[in-house]
């Protein structure tokens, strides 16, 4: 593996070492991300255990249809991302660009639907803060549910926005023909990131939308 390519940086011995370093770096970063979301999940578990009725009530106010559609969209985007990575590995650049664009479209659709859901919550006065209103004695606890709902899905959406930005940059680079079977590390790495963000949602959806209904 002593072949050289424009992506090889001077301080690495060869492309294999560089790729190994990037992969390890990305996985390490994702571990950091798990801990980042972990703080929110910990708060969720604590309050869910303490206020089960409020959590059940809160879940009933989430739109399960939109949530399910979004889950399907996001899993679909992971598929297109994986196909994009595969295309770059076999050197099909046009296919790579097509799959990346598809991933961006699906990511954008997810964010759009999320925005619609947020808007509904706003109209129903379920956004925590001074305008929050909920009938009955457990209003404060339901507000806690929604506070965590917005913190968790909001943080997830922020990661999606970053992901879309990274994908757009990838598309720009791919159009210049930067990726070859010998060098496609950025596609691979951003793919890992995208799958991670996807998996976070796979946990968020049942925890927030589904669990409280039973």
């Amino acid at each position: 593996m002593t072949e050289t390519h424009p992506g090889l940086l001077h301080h690495f011995d060869d492309a294999a070492q560089q790729k190994e370093a990037s992969t390890l770096g990305m996985w390490t970063f994702l571990i950091t991300e798990i801990l980042f979301f972990g703080g929110l999940f910990a708060a969720y578990v604590v309050y869910r255990t303490r206020f089960p009725e409020a959590w059940a009530a809160g879940s009933h106010h989430l739109d399960i249809t939109l949530g399910a559609v979004n889950t399907a969209i996001l899993i679909g985007s992971s598929l297109t991302m994986a196909l994009g990575v595969h295309s770059s590995q076999i050197g099909r650049n046009r296919l790579l660009i097509a799959f990346l664009i598809l991933t961006v479209v699906l990511g954008g659709a997810f964010l759009g639907i999320k925005a619609v859901e947020y808007h509904h919550k706003y109209e129903e006065h379920h956004v925590p803060g001074p305008a929050f209103s909920y009938p009955g004695p457990i209003a404060g606890q339901v507000q806690l549910f929604f506070a965590l709902y917005f913190a968790m899905t909001g943080m997830h959406a922020l990661h999606m926005v970053v992901g879309v930005g990274l994908l757009l940059n990838l598309i720009r680079q791919a159009r210049r023909g930067r990726f070859t079977p010998a060098y496609n590390t950025p596609v691979d790495m951003i793919g890992l990131y995208w799958h991670f963000v996807d998996i976070v949602w796979v946990f968020l959806f049942p925890l927030l939308y589904l669990l409280g209904r039973h």
Binding site: H11, G25, T28, L35, G38, G39, A43, Y47, L144, A151
Partner: protein, 538 residues
């Protein structure tokens, strides 16, 4: 000035000049110096606040500043020192400079990310400076809720943003070290041939990447609570302030090990060099770093013995807190055993090592007092705690940092500092430190609480002693600042290996060239292969 052979040779300092060549550098050695400059500024800022705190405590009455101002002083002292000096101190300066050199690499795995870390740190520091200039913050560095989220009328949000941002610089540095240590080692440099400095940084990096994101998200929740009154940590709205304490200390206790582990790495290097011996029980010292990183994540509850935590949880946290003392003690015993029958010499870095070993031991043993459930109820939130963690952070971490700065100064700058001034200031710092903080153990035991600007008259004598010590300590820190800066221009040119030390970094010229090694070194021997007695090459 002495004729300087370095002037005719190209190295990382003279390869190019100008502000751009520094602000856009991706050379880990230059980034280390950028960090050195910025954290020194933050250290002086934190020191300034400490001066004001100690001035106020000279007299029992609150007469220098108002209590509100005093609250801001100790808060900003803590924030500047912990987040902006101690956390980055050894890793971001010495680690940045030395990790690639010690493992025979040309740079860290991600040089641009490394530069980005410095910018992130600097932006975070500027945010915090803005918050300080525009009125400061008074919550204590711990940001306990609901005071920080509901009641405090000070600049909590800007400081929180500053700390949040700076956290990412720490995460990225840790990530860079982990990948570099895994993937960039020179041929033949197996894990058990690595210098213990590398093991220590590896362990600290694990804490950085696992702990920092938790405090980051906690800060986000505090900010949301404060801005929108969502009540995550507000008991009036169903939230739980103790949950904040759990999340906060899940990072902030291991953060102590981020500060002390890299310093311990320095101690291992310097002890071996000036005893001319291999570090006793290399494997134990290496694994004790990992053990500290691991067990250190399981002790955070000892900050909540009096915060309504269940007694069973407290019991377990108490036992685990004592368990973490074991790997720390392993290190102290092994350094001491390294000295045994060594050819010890007393250069400046070694004086800091002796300071470290003694003071860290006191800090560690008083930690056992605090980990015991019964005594902690009495000692909690008293000056005993303040003295305890200053023995660890100042007596331990900063001693190690200064020892390391002196040890590698010839390599970093290509100049020798004045040995006489070096030894003098190490001595002054040791005396000043003990005079400042030992009385605080007594004060705390007698019942003087932390965080008050006034106190009963019977405590005055010890407080005056402490303030007197602080002024000596301040002078002790100023002396190196002066002679080290002076040596950069007027110091004697340093030989490549002034201490006759082992390690790949000493095989490069002083100062090293941009890519560290002309050709990748091959390693065929264990670390610290000292054959005593050996005369320094001069």
């Amino acid at each position: 000035m002495i004729q300087n052979p370095q002037a005719t040779r190209t190295h990382y300092l003279n390869v190019n000049y100008g502000i751009r060549s520094w602000l856009l550098t991706t050379d880990h050695k230059r980034i280390a110096l950028l960090y050195l400059a910025t954290i020194t500024v933050m250290f002086m800022l934190g020191g300034l606040f400490a001066v004001l705190v100690r001035l106020e405590l000279m007299t029992p009455a609150g007469d220098v500043v108002m209590s509100e101002t005093y609250n801001k002083m100790f808060t900003m002292h803590g924030i500047a020192m912990i987040f902006f000096f101690l956390i980055p101190s050894v890793p971001a300066v010495l680690g940045n400079f030395l990790v690639p050199m010690m493992i025979g690499a040309r740079d860290l795995a991600f040089p641009r990310l490394n530069l980005a870390s410095w910018y992130i740190y600097t932006i975070g520091a500027l945010f915090t400076l803005y918050a300080i200039v525009s009125g400061g913050v008074d919550t204590g560095w711990t940001f306990y809720t609901p005071y920080s989220t509901v009641w405090s009328g000070t600049n909590v949000i800007p400081v929180a943003v500053g700390i949040f941002i700076t956290g990412f610089s720490s995460i990225l540095t840790g990530l860079n070290f982990i990948v570099t240590i895994h993937r960039m080692r020179a041929p033949g440099l197996t894990w058990f041939r690595l210098p213990l400095f590398i093991w220590a940084h590896y362990a600290a990096s694990i804490i950085m990447i696992l702990g920092t994101p938790v405090v980051a998200i906690t800060i986000v929740l505090v900010a949301l609570d404060r801005l929108f009154r969502v009540g995550v940590f507000d008991p009036n709205l169903g939230g739980d302030p103790v949950l904040f304490q759990h999340l906060f200390w899940f990072y902030s206790h291991p953060a102590v090990y981020i500060m002390i582990l890299p310093s311990m790495g320095v101690i291992s290097e310097v002890t071996a060099c000036f005893s001319r011996k291999r570090v006793f029980g290399y494997g134990f010292v290496a694994f004790s770093s990992l053990a500290i990183a691991f067990v250190g994540f399981l002790v955070w509850g000892h900050h909540m013995f009096v915060s309504s935590q269940s007694i069973y949880a407290s019991l377990i946290f108490s036992v685990l807190s004592m368990v973490v003392a074991i790997p720390s003690a392993v290190k102290v015993f092994n350094w001491t055993a390294t000295l045994y029958k060594g050819h010890i010499s007393f250069e400046t870095p070694m004086l800091y090592v002796f300071g470290f070993i003694g003071l860290f031991t006191i800090g560690g043993l008083t930690g056992i007092f605090l980990a015991s459930l019964g005594t902690d109820v009495h000692l909690h939130d008293t000056y005993f705690v303040v003295a305890h963690f200053h023995y660890i952070m100042v007596g331990g971490a900063i001693m190690g940092y200064l020892g390391g700065i002196h040890f590698w100064w010839p390599k970093i700058t290509g100049r020798m500092y004045s040995e006489w001034w070096g030894r003098l200031s190490a001595l002054v710092i040791f005396i000043g430190f003990n005079l400042t903080f030992f009385p605080q153990f007594l004060l705390g035991y007698l019942g003087m609480p932390r965080r008050y600007h006034a106190y009963p008259e019977e405590f005055q004598a010890l407080n005056v002693l402490s303030t007197a010590g602080a002024s000596i300590l301040g002078v002790g820190y100023l002396i190196p600042l002066i002679y080290l800066v002076w040596s950069m221009r007027y110091g004697r040119p340093a030989p490549d290996n002034p201490w006759g030390a082992k390690g790949l970094e000493w095989m490069t010229p002083s100062p090293p060239q941009t890519h560290n090694f002309t050709e990748t070194p091959r390693v065929a021997e264990e670390a610290y292969a000292y054959s005593s007695p050996e005369v320094p090459v001069d």
